[in-house]
């Protein structure tokens, strides 16, 4: 990370720190205060959007470890979220366990299922792995539908709200806090995972798996580890989602969500934790803008009314992803780095 002029690192610890100057810490503090003060001055709608963004960020962080860092492209992420969601739903609704027990179990369950579906990654990669993960999504959903007695099948399953002591986490504000705390922890965890030995191995596999193997990276172990970690994040995210709806249904995890999660990575910038946040926020805000813009468009062109709004969201998201792939394949995070760099060097930015 580039630093302002005159800042010197005197130890390896300082060099590796995520926040290295007082300005960094102050900005972090300001951000967290602003974020956690949201319920005081925001409407239920804003809190809902932020909560959904937080849940998506957790999931995309997992996908970023798997795809962005380790290069194992997955289109089954919504399926892995479904595993986590249903593990938590069944444990809380059927077995009466606490949400706090069910949440780590959801992550673990999804991680284990991720390992199973990650096994083909040892033999196949690229397009073939994508197809294997697509299959994973549909197999997972099929299995959930078959165990009707446990999962409720197509009718779904009512899920209790999380509880802390006697406090039911039911209001928009309380659930926002729950999700944001877990999101912050997930971001911190994801950022650090990629700085470990395993993280460096992931990057080596992504860049050239043959070279990585020659250098002593155990592909079998690290590819499956990437699947496990990526799916743990997805599982936690899925659990948070079903408890937010207070209902688990296979329809909560449509296949297209996996595609959009990958789109979020592309827009934000693959292989970057900050990119995950940028991409998720950008596409979710685009979604909201399109939702509001659709009826306005229909009011302007009443002759085409509803047709004007139909598919606008899909078109816009698709268009944005294409434009990013052509004009900024390194994503928003690269733009952000350029802006920061420009600001630091000003007025000598040439």
């Amino acid at each position: 990370m580039s630093l302002p002029s005159g800042v010197f690192q005197q130890s390896y610890g300082q060099d590796m720190a995520i926040f290295r100057t007082r300005t960094h810490w102050i900005l972090l503090l300001a951000f967290l205060v602003l974020l956690f003060a949201m319920p005081v001055y925001s409407s239920d709608r804003i809190l809902t959007i932020l909560t959904i963004m937080g849940i998506s960020i957790i999931s995309v962080l997992g996908l970023n470890i798997l795809t962005g860092y380790c290069g194992q492209i997955s289109l089954g992420h919504a399926g892995f979220m479904a595993v986590g969601g249903y593990v938590s739903a069944v444990l809380t609704a059927k077995l009466g366990l606490s949400f706090w027990v069910a949440l780590p179990c959801a992550g673990l369950g999804a991680g284990l299922v991720g390992i199973i579906f990650g096994l083909p990654s040892l033999k196949i990669k690229g397009f073939y792995l994508i197809m294997a993960t697509v299959a994973a999504h549909f197999i997972i959903i099929w299995v959930i539908l078959q165990f009707q007695g446990i999962t409720g099948g197509a009718d779904g399953l009512s899920v209790p709200r999380p509880v802390i002591g006697s406090l039911v986490i039911k209001s928009k504000a309380s659930y926002f806090y729950l999700v944001m705390i877990i999101t912050c922890l997930a971001v911190y965890l994801a950022k650090n995972i990629v700085r470990t030995r395993a993280g460096r191995a992931f990057v080596a596999i992504r860049d050239n798996d043959l070279a990585a193997e020659v250098m002593g990276v155990n592909l079998w172990v690290y590819k499956l580890t990437a699947f496990f970690i990526g799916c743990v994040f997805a599982g936690v995210s899925g659990a948070l989602l079903v408890h937010y709806y207070a209902f688990a249904s296979t329809d909560t995890f449509p296949f297209m969500n996996s595609v959009w999660y990958l789109g979020m990575l592309i827009v934000g910038g693959m292989g970057s934790t900050a990119g995950v946040i940028f991409g998720t926020v950008f596409l979710k805000l685009l979604d909201e803008a399109v939702t509001v813009f659709g009826p306005m468009l229909a009011a302007i062109f009443p002759a085409i009314a509803a047709q004007a709004a139909a598919s606008l969201g899909l078109i816009m998201r698709g268009l944005v992803i294409i434009l990013f792939l052509i004009f900024e394949p390194r994503g928003l995070v690269h733009r952000w780095e350029l802006i920061k760099s420009y600001y630091r060097r000003w007025p000598f930015s040439y």
């Binding site: 503090l29 998506s56 009512s158 504000a173 937010y244 709806y245 909560t252 449509p254 939702t291 509803a306």
Partner: protein
């Protein structure tokens, strides 16, 4: 730096603690408990004749009330939902211009109240439906609607917790376990299947068959399609004298003809195949069935029965005589049944608002019916509470729960709702394609096959 980090950590903890406590102190309690709801409902008495809102000496304040909600204008139901939206908008215009609920009704709509349709496209995406719901609730919507099972399942518990009444074009059993605040105007799919089964059995016996007819599900691979696959349904079919052969699932919108599934029906000697399908699913399925020589007029005799979203008014003109024999339960009457009051209203609205390009999709009628239900709920609630003081819970308790025998001009049977009765119709029509035309076979009682809490 160490001291700074310590200071940072302490200040963060303090701020988080303050922020966590602050909303708890300022949160207003808006949720009404189920017990309180039940009590209020039991004591509520509502006059169903026209009467003015609570008397005031000053001129009544102009108030805008919203109807509508979330519409799935993207995805499998896009065509249906666009027609529903048009129905909603035209009904709102009719009420605003005439200050009447319908031509065949005597009750007036308050003169100082204007109806406006609020809508958003949820893309059949539960996450999107969630933020739309919060947005429209924030705009002051007192009633709501949802398009499909996907969004219904995501929102039903929230609607129930917020005590907001909603209409829906989805009719799955999840709405009943326990009954929530989503009200349907056509029967649950299991009840539609039950009606088809009874109709078929009557004809089977009349034809002098002594063997048990074999029945199988041929249904969409979706939450709605699979919602008929419940133990109660199978038990009912067996009880009334069927032999249950099994089930086959086809994609909601097939990308290839369902040859395998249809051949399975043939191999298993199935006499009646029934399920939930929308028109983009039922039409290619029946075309392939005819190609395989399956149908009431084909070499292999089999009857196909579908739930209401496979509307014959759309199916028959598209299929012609190829669709002969197909039965649909719980649908709306075709638009050429001009003697019905509801169809007369449809014609009137088309002539007035769509003279150049009429909306011919049958789900337009669903929009009219849902608009009528939402507006009736608002009207009934306004008899108890002034329009500018209305809250969603008022509309639910003094509105939706008090709707009894609401006439929709024969677009549906009379609709009645209550806290434990969210399935509005008590009977349904069964139609069949005969010589390429839709023919009414009769009205069948709702059986209540799905046993709920």
């Amino acid at each position: 730096m160490t001291k700074f980090r310590l200071f940072f950590a302490v200040s963060l903890v303090v701020m988080l603690a303050v922020l966590l406590v602050l909303p708890a102190c300022t949160t207003k309690e808006t949720t009404v408990t189920a017990t309180a709801t039940a009590t209020k409902t039991a004591t509520a008495t509502v006059t169903t004749t026209a009467s003015p809102p609570p008397a005031t000496t000053a001129a009544p304040k102009e108030v805008t009330l919203y109807i509508g909600g979330t519409f799935s204008l993207t995805g499998a139901y896009a065509e249906d939902t666009a027609a529903v939206l048009a129905g909603f908008q035209d009904y709102a215009k009719y009420v605003n211009e005439n200050k009447k609920m319908a031509p065949w009704r005597t009750e007036a709509f308050p003169a100082n109240v204007k109806l406006e349709v609020l809508w958003r496209d949820d893309e059949l995406n539960p996450q999107k439906a969630l933020s739309i719901y919060e947005e429209l609730k924030g705009k002051g919507m007192l009633v709501y609607r949802i398009s499909a099972s996907q969004t219904a399942m995501a929102l039903m518990n929230l609607l129930n917790e917020d005590r907001i009444g909603a209409t829906s074009m989805a009719a799955g059993p999840y709405l009943l376990s326990p009954p929530k605040t989503i009200f349907t105007n056509y029967p649950l799919y299991t009840d539609e299947m039950g009606a088809i089964a009874n109709w078929f059995l009557d004809n089977w016996k009349k034809a002098g068959n002594t063997a048990k007819p074999r029945v199988a599900y041929l249904t969409a691979d979706s939450a709605s399609g699979r919602s008929i696959d419940i133990p109660e349904m199978e038990a009912y079919l067996t009880k009334i004298g069927y032999e249950f052969a099994g089930k086959q699932f086809v994609p909601m919108v097939p990308t290839a003809p369902p040859t395998t599934q249809l051949s399975w029906l043939k191999d298993n000697k199935v006499n009646l195949a029934m399920g939930f399908m929308i028109n983009p699913g039922s039409q290619p399925t029946i075309k392939e069935a005819v190609r395989l020589g399956m149908g009431t007029n084909q070499a292999y005799k089999i009857t196909f029965g579908f739930a209401a979203p496979s509307h014959l008014a759309v199916f028959a003109p598209a299929m012609g005589t190829l669709g002969d024999g197909v039965v649909v339960a719980g649908s709306y009457p075709p638009m050429d049944h001009k003697n019905l009051a509801g169809i007369k209203l449809y014609d009137q609205l088309q002539a007035k608002y769509h003279a150049d390009k009429p909306v011919t999709h049958i789900m337009y009628l669903a929009g009219l019916v849902e608009g009528m239900i939402q507006t009736e709920a608002l009207r009934l609630a306004m008899l108890k509470v002034a329009p500018d003081k209305l809250k969603p819970v008022d509309v639910l308790e003094y509105g939706f729960y008090q709707i009894k025998n609401l006439s929709t001009g024969d677009l549906t049977p009379p609709l009645s709702f209550g806290p434990s009765d969210v399935e509005g119709a008590k009977e349904m029509r069964i139609d069949q394609v005969q010589n390429g035309k839709v023919v009414l076979l009769g009205n069948y009682k709702i059986l209540g096959i799905y046993k709920h809490e």
